[in-house]
């Protein structure tokens, strides 16, 4: 049975299991499965998926609901946490909340579970207002919505600064078989509020794991949201990350995506600017090799005047790896004085490595500043020779150059411990010993 049929036919059993009181959710899920049945998974005939085929990851016979609850010991998985600093943690194992690994709060801010938010009256107004409001109807979103059960629920109340960063970590153990997990996150940051979020999907098994994650983020007036996605997964794990961000006037949102490993990674990152003087920042570092595939599909929708967006994606591709960057910027007629900047720079280390880079600008306003640039190249031989002539071995010299190349993306990372961690991961990836801090 194909995955699509299997999913559709499993839906009834999934719904029967649901005992919550939220009738609206019932309706939303029923509609979503119908939509998924009609639309199905995206394929390469669609422009947005021209360079990324999901075929190889959809052919697995995924288990949808793990039969047994798996437990993990903190000491075994500590390295996947940014453990050097104090954080709130929302940890899920095979899609199921792990209370002993988590640390939640309801003190001024709500950092808790989607399952409880969906079913408790206290959260109903927030759910009614924000849940499933900006993720557009498409195959992957509808599938996720139909099976919405668990994920992170974060609500930062008005005039509040979250006192520490929040980590969302999804572990897959897949002890029984291959696994499909579909986390659903909702993050609402009220007026004048601020939070920092770190998200990671980590497989602990060699069995295939597919994650189809949907995250909706709302940043109200003057809110600040900094989001960090650390993607450094096993070669058996694939991730489709669907993130939608709606911003109100004078809010700042930044998303940094570090794609350093995984079989196939597709990032659908979408910003909708509903207000003035909004700033949206997207940065990415991709370093892959082997047959890995990383696709960044971004959208910034400039709807109102005087807003900015900044995109800076850097990629280093070795062996037969494939990269895709598809950055779309839409500037509506009303969005005068928009300042949109987009840059995508790539280094190919091997003749067999590929990058497909496609900037897409749709501008309907006449008084705007929009720039985009894309480069694809090899490491500069003259620079390599320069470093070698100073006694730095070629391997280390190319590591240093690649490191310097990726460096300016890290500059805007506001949590030093993340910067350090990514530094280390990059150094490790590039096989160089950086006995110093750049």
């Amino acid at each position: 049975m194909e995955l699509k049929e299997k999913l559709v036919s499993s839906f009834l059993a999934f719904e029967e299991e649901y005992t919550g009181s939220n009738d609206d959710l019932h309706k939303i899920r029923n509609q979503a499965i119908k939509d998924f049945e009609t639309i199905g998974f995206p394929n390469r005939k669609q422009e947005d998926y021209k360079y990324t085929s999901l075929k190889s990851i959809l052919k697995e016979d995924y288990s949808l609901f793990p039969k047994q609850e798996n437990t993990l010991e903190y000491k075994d998985i500590k390295k996947y946490f940014i453990h050097e600093i104090d954080t709130y943690d929302l940890v899920f194992i095979d899609g199921i909340y792990s209370s002993h690994l988590s640390s939640t709060t309801h003190d001024k801010i709500d950092v808790c579970l989607m399952s409880s938010a969906l079913n408790k009256d206290l959260y109903k107004p927030v759910i009614d207002n924000y849940f499933n409001k900006i993720a557009p109807k498409n195959g992957l979103n509808s599938l996720n919505t139909a099976f919405t059960k668990e994920g992170a629920f974060i609500h930062i109340h008005k005039n509040t600064m979250a006192d520490k960063p929040i980590q969302i970590i999804n572990f897959s153990t897949g002890n029984e078989s291959s696994l499909l997990v579909q986390p659903r996150n909702l993050i609402v940051v009220d007026e004048n509020s601020h939070c920092q979020i770190i998200e990671r999907h980590q497989s602990l098994t060699d069995q295939p794991v597919l994650t189809n994650s949907v995250t909706e983020i709302f940043a109200d007036k003057r809110a600040i949201v900094d989001y960090y996605k650390i993607q450094n997964d096993k070669l058996s794990a694939s991730l489709i990350d669907n993130t939608y961000i709606e911003q109100k006037s004078e809010s700042f949102c930044s998303v940094h995506t570090f794609s350093l490993g995984g079989k196939l990674t597709r990032n659908n990152l979408n910003f909708y600017q509903r207000g003035e003087r909004i700033d949206s920042t997207m940065k990415g570092v991709t370093i892959i090799e082997g047959k890995q595939h990383v696709d960044h599909n971004t959208l910034v929708h400039h709807i109102e005047p005087n807003c900015e967006s900044h995109q800076d994606y850097k990629g280093i591709f070795d062996e037969k790896s494939v990269g895709v960057f598809n950055g779309k910027v839409v500037v509506e007629k009303e969005a005068q004085k928009t300042n949109a900047y987009q840059s995508n720079n790539n280094v190919l280390l091997n003749d067999k490595a590929t990058i497909n880079s496609k900037p897409q600008l749709e501008i309907f306003a006449d008084d705007v500043k929009c720039s985009h640039g894309c480069t694809i190249g090899q490491l500069d031989e003259e620079a390599l020779f320069y470093l070698q002539s100073r006694g730095i071995p070629r391997k280390e010299a190319s590591g240093l150059l690649m490191y310097a190349f990726a460096n300016n993306v890290l500059e805007s990372v506001k949590i030093p411990e993340i910067k350090k961690r990514i530094n280390k991961l990059i150094a490790l990836k590039l096989g160089v010993e950086l006995g110093f801090n750049l």
Partner: protein
């Protein structure tokens, strides 16, 4: 120290060096002068091991070892230093960290532990002060946005830090005003000792007023066509290269 015998080198099948012979002893300063396109910079790059050039014939012997097959970094570890005519800009790597990496790479190649941080800082401070280099300059990205003069001074700073046996200075004087030229020359003179040698590649006699050479060579069309004492440089300055070519043709 350095013996070059019948050295031929090409780039993309075009022969640039057509049989170079050169002998440099410890303690000596040699200058190579010649018109544009004569192959002076190619010679310095080939000695330093740039792979873009193919060495088709001949030998390069440094301290009794044939180094033609060695990687640039191995040559550096043996004590060869090339000051670039056009130093490469590397945004994202500070001068200090670059220097630390380079010094420790040398030490590692020679079986030594990393230089302790305080020793490294002391050395950096000493060398930068003697070259009148501003402290702020050291935390800037390597050559990134440096003026021509700053780049050249930074090259000499690197040389002073690495203390090579053979320093090759490729057009180090170009782009320098007279004050900067004096500082750079002073830096080179400080390095001079009976154990090490300097090879200057230059267009102009000017630099040779400050770094006085023992031997001056004239290079034309990939060959050294004339060698002499320091007075040869003055003669070239006065008369140009045409007479050397004419003399050669006769």
């Amino acid at each position: 120290m350095l013996q070059i015998k019948n050295l031929h080198a090409s780039i993309e099948d075009k022969e640039i060096l057509k049989g170079i012979n050169l002998d440099i002893n410890p303690g000596e300063v040699h200058a190579i002068m010649g018109p544009n396109g004569s192959g002076k910079s190619t010679l310095s790059s080939v000695i330093a091991g740039k792979e873009e050039f193919e060495q088709t014939q001949g030998e390069i012997i440094f301290e009794n070892t044939e180094i033609s097959e060695m990687d640039p970094e191995e040559r550096a570890h043996k004590g060869i230093f090339l000051s670039f005519q056009y130093p490469v800009e590397i945004p994202g790597v500070s001068v200090t960290n670059f220097m630390k990496t380079a010094i420790n790479a040398h030490r590692k190649a020679n079986g030594l532990e990393d230089m302790p941080a305080n020793e490294m800082l002391k050395k950096i401070r000493e060398k930068s002060e003697s070259l009148e280099i501003d402290r702020k300059f050291l935390s800037r990205s390597l050559n990134d946005g440096f003026s021509g003069g700053e780049k050249k001074r930074n090259e000499i700073f690197q040389m002073a830090m690495l203390e090579p046996k053979l320093a090759i200075l490729d057009e180090t004087d170009s782009g320098l005003d007279i004050d900067a030229l004096k500082i750079v020359a002073d830096g080179v003179n400080k390095l001079r000792s009976k154990d090490n040698a300097v090879l200057l590649i230059t267009h102009y006699q000017r630099l040779l007023n400050y770094i006085v050479p023992d031997v001056v060579h004239v290079m034309i069309d990939g060959k050294i066509v004339k060698s002499g004492g320091k007075e040869l440089a003055l003669e070239l300055e006065e008369r140009g290269y045409e007479w050397v070519k004419a003399e050669k043709a006769v």
